[in-house]
């Protein structure tokens, strides 16, 4: 390689921060194809090995239907609860100063970093009838580990950072003058929150909600430890997929994955539309 090339590279590199549109678009397409589209396409191709009858038999079997209900239901409720409490955490972290704030801030990310199996085992141990928390709940007749409630708790745990981390920066940018203005115009606290703060935050909240929801749908590691994995009752879809794989039924496993993908995609699309709509609503309202 002649040295000249190198100097040209340097010269050109200095001219622009990022190369032009076509280069970046090409790179984006290549990257998305390699990382996302090709594996997803392979899933669809693999599941097409099944005949239509086999496919529908697999994806509409009673255990599968029960598993969809549980996976989507528990993920949805976990994301909703996180949207509320994650918002409160973000609010506290942005608006108040207190001793140990940085530590609390770092704690929020912990569910990201912790291997999910560790989270699952820890939660299952805590909430088992002989565990620290479970022992207090057992006399009240509340069972957490090995029930659907346990699955919900595991999914809430792993979803928390998504809400906090998406809402936090938006909240930090939110001028408190807006609230003062609302108050001086006679709005009470509730009105200020409902009509001023929430509309500004709703796009970030929706994004966080969608991320937490999507993450919970795919979660396997922590749930298998806290769930009792009983078919029709506490079996999530990823576990069903794993048991198909263990029987070397790759096509059937991918068929279930395809169903999850399609439903997830539709739900995320709906969230995006909602977000777009709320953005438009806000801007027109403000204008």
């Amino acid at each position: 390689m002649p040295l000249g090339n190198n100097s040209i590279c340097m010269a050109k590199k200095q001219n622009r921060v990022l190369p032009g549109f076509r280069w970046t678009l090409g790179y984006t397409l290549l990257y998305l194809s390699l990382i996302v589209l090709i594996p997803l396409a392979a899933t669809f191709v693999k599941s097409s090995e099944l005949t239509w009858a086999e496919f529908s038999h697999t994806v509409f079997s009673p255990p599968a239907l029960a598993a969809y209900r549980l996976s989507f239901g528990a993920s949805f409720f976990a994301a909703v609860v996180n949207a509320v409490f994650g918002f409160i955490v973000a609010w506290v972290l942005v608006r108040y100063d207190f001793f140990g704030k940085r530590i609390v801030d770092a704690l929020v990310d912990l569910p990201f970093a912790l291997p999910t199996a560790v989270a699952g085992i820890t939660l299952a141990t805590l909430y088992a009838p002989n565990g620290w928390i479970g022992a207090w709940l057992a006399p009240l007749g509340i069972k957490v580990s090995y029930t659907q409630l346990g699955i919900f708790i595991a999914l809430t745990f792993i979803g928390l950072p998504f809400i906090v981390r998406t809402v936090q920066p938006v909240l930090a940018d939110l001028d408190s003058e807006l609230e003062e203005a609302a108050t001086s115009l006679g709005a009470n606290r509730w009105q200020t929150f409902w009509r001023v703060i929430l509309p500004m935050l709703s796009p970030a909240l929706l994004t966080g909600f969608a991320l937490a929801f999507a993450r919970a749908l795919g979660e396997y590691g922590s749930v298998v430890f806290i769930s009792s994995n009983i078919p029709m009752k506490t079996q999530i879809v990823p576990l069903l997929i794993m048991s198909e794989l263990d029987g070397f039924q790759y096509a059937k496993a991918t068929a279930l994955a395809v169903v999850m993908l399609v439903i997830s995609f539709l739900l995320l699309l709906a969230v995006n539309l909602l977000q777009w709509w709320s953005n438009r609503y806000n801007t027109t309202n403000l204008a």
Binding site: C9, R22, P129, Y146, N229, M232
Partner: protein, 351 residues
């Protein structure tokens, strides 16, 4: 490329960058090649096994390395990989470079032979005793004093008894446990499939938690304090006694159970590519030697060698053992009837 007509310089830059990045790798590659030539007698084997064999193969690997060194003068380092039997088989099918596999059931090695074609389908005839140098069975682990008086399979299915066992769809050991219960019902109720099905249905009605693997169930039973009885591998039950204390649990051996045969095989194509065929074969054959059998027995696997079995007879209660071939017509058939989609195990949970 359509998207970069005037940016040809990028390719050159890219090449340069790649060359820069590659340099250390090339050096590393060269260095390791040199090292390989210099110390050519350093042999590496990968044994892909299932969950409860950790302790067994730790001890056996050391013994085999010593034996091989004495016999050939070569050093052999054996790496182990453990996990659920089905998952381990999948990894091998997907390219995990195992020289030998030592799994929980023949069905999983069959899958490697059929799907990845890494070894012939008649692999099980290549070594004595169906290629299973040691056997095991399914026993009951109960709490100290056996408060629920669990002696036989009938006691396990009684209402009010809580049973812990992993999910047969994801655990090899659990499949043996399911088949043991089914075989008991077949033997007891005159080979009536309807009654046997009713029996296993009652059994799984008593199971509150289906862990995905044998170790998971042991932990649920021993540490979480859930369940009156754990259906476990015999060796896993002994291990639990050792690990969690014999003052907490006791082993109950039912009068009838299944002869669990965890088979071993050389993965021909991979071993050939690694040039380890001979040592891999010797590794498995040595399991049948007196020393190999002793190590198996010490780790609570039932040895095939009658003399060694006699020596360790105190560890292994006598019971009637039935085989998958006798009762179920082999693993392929058992899998289809019981564990495939819509099979009898699925029907148990259907409303």
């Amino acid at each position: 490329m359509w998207f970069l007509p005037e940016y040809n310089w990028h390719f050159n830059c890219l090449k340069l960058e790649i060359q820069k990045l590659m340099k250390p790798f090339l050096i590393l590659l060269l260095a390791s090649a040199l090292a390989a030539v210099a110390g050519a007698k350093e042999i590496k084997l990968l044994n892909v096994s299932y969950d409860p064999t950790r302790e067994l193969y730790q001890e056996y690997n050391a013994a085999f390395a010593k034996y091989w060194k004495a016999k050939t003068g070569d050093d052999v380092t054996i790496s182990q990989s453990h996990g659920g039997s089905g998952k381990q088989a999948q990894s091998v099918i997907n390219g995990l470079e195992a020289d030998v596999v030592t799994l929980a059931l023949a069905y999983d090695i069959d899958a490697i032979a059929r799907q990845a074609k890494l070894l012939p389908v008649d692999w099980q005839k290549r070594l004595p005793d169906n290629s299973t140098p040691y056997t095991s069975t399914i026993v009951f682990l109960v709490r100290k004093g056996n408060p629920k008086h669990i002696k036989d399979w009938d006691d396990v299915v009684k209402p009010g008894v809580t049973v812990v066992v992993p999910n047969p769809k994801t655990s090899g050991g659990a499949r043996w446990a399911y088949l043991a219960a089914y075989a008991y019902a077949l033997e007891t109720y005159g080979h009536d499939d309807a009654r046997a099905k009713d029996f296993v249905t009652r059994l799984y009605k008593n199971v509150p938690i289906l862990d995905s693997g044998a170790r998971g169930s042991t932990i649920t039973f021993a540490q979480r304090g859930i369940g009156d009885v754990l259906l476990a591998w015999e060796n896993e039950a002994h291990l639990a006694l050792k690990e969690f204390g014999a003052d907490q649990f006791e082993i109950v051996t039912p009068p009838l159970s299944i002869l669990a045969e965890p088979p071993v095989a050389v993965v021909d194509k991979t071993a050939k590519r690694h040039g380890t065929t001979d040592v891999a074969r010797a590794y498995l054959e040595y399991l049948y030697s007196d020393e190999g059998q002793e190590i198996a027995a010490r780790n609570f696997y039932r040895p095939r060698n009658p003399a060694v079995a006699e020596k360790y007879a105190a560890n292994f209660a006598r019971l009637k053992l039935v085989t998958v071939e006798q009762e179920f017509g082999g693993w392929q058939k058992a899998q289809q009837t019981h564990f495939a989609d819509g099979g009898i195990f699925d029907q148990i949970y259907q409303p």
